[in-house]
């Protein structure tokens, strides 16, 4: 029986490869969107629900920006790709995904530690980092706004 993790892995590698391989920008961005959703599902299956939700939320925002940029910046004469090239890309991606299913390099280590809960890890251990990062993001967003405004004027 094929486990859903294997299906997720193959689909993840295929969508990732197509995001790079497809010539049309909008199709590539759509494939990238699938990749984000599958990655989020994989995180969920690994027992990291907060990471999965965060990845999905961030990914949706990034996708919106990519779609807008793809529509705005794509040239009118974008090269059209043949179906054969797309299918070859899918085949290459399926072959690329095989090693991660068949091989294993990670040692089978059994560590019996319960670890810290998520809220303690985020706010107790890395709380200062989170606060500093909020400040960095604020400064960067101001910088981006300044770059765009200056160029427009």
């Amino acid at each position: 029986m094929i486990s859903y993790e294997i299906v997720f892995t193959v689909a993840l590698v295929v969508s990732t490869f197509l995001a790079v391989h497809l010539e049309e920008s909008v199709h590539a961005v759509a494939s990238f969107g699938f990749m984000i959703i599958l990655l989020s599902g994989l995180y969920f299956s690994l027992g990291a629900p907060f990471a999965a939700v965060f990845q999905l939320a961030i990914g949706v925002g990034t996708l919106a920006v990519f779609f807008l940029a793809g529509e705005m910046l794509a040239s009118k004469k974008e090269p059209t790709q043949r179906l054969r090239g797309k299918l070859l890309g899918v085949l290459a991606a399926v072959i690329l995904s095989l090693p991660s299913i068949a091989l294993s390099v990670t040692p089978n280590v059994q560590i019996n530690s319960k670890g810290v809960p998520f809220s303690e890890a985020l706010w107790g251990l890395r709380g200062l980092d989170v606060a500093a990062q909020g400040f960095v993001i604020l400064v960067i967003s101001m910088g981006v706004a300044i770059i765009l405004k200056r160029r427009r004027s």
Binding site: G47, V65, V144
Partner: protein
């Protein structure tokens, strides 16, 4: 199933896109893929060890990744406004042409 090999595969795909593609948007997608491949390891190793510190690190890494994307998108838009193209080769050629024109004006 080995998530480390999966992460390496995604990294390889991202590097392939970074090296072969000329469209700035594709290059940006490749950078995102590389970042996703790197941050996947946090969750993979955290699930082996147990605990939630890996998730906290992933959230920090994703925030950095998003700010990086915002900066690059701003640069792409500025480049498109200034030069009218997002082809990397064309951009480098146009930069050379502009530099040559400036040199000509000075003389």
């Amino acid at each position: 199933m080995d998530y480390v090999i999966l992460s390496m595969t995604l990294l390889a795909v991202g590097i392939y896109g970074l090296v072969t593609k000329r469209n700035l948007l594709k290059v940006l997608i490749s950078i995102e893929i590389i970042a996703a491949a790197a941050s996947m390891n946090f969750v993979a190793f955290a699930s082996m060890v147990g605990g939630s510190l890996g998730q906290a690190f992933l959230i920090l890494a994703l925030s950095v990744d998003t700010t990086l994307t915002a900066i690059i998108i701003a640069l792409v838009v500025v480049a498109y406004r200034d030069l009218g193209t997002i082809d990397i080769w064309a951009l480098s050629r146009l930069r050379e042409v502009r530099a040559a024109r400036r040199r000509g004006k000075r003389r």
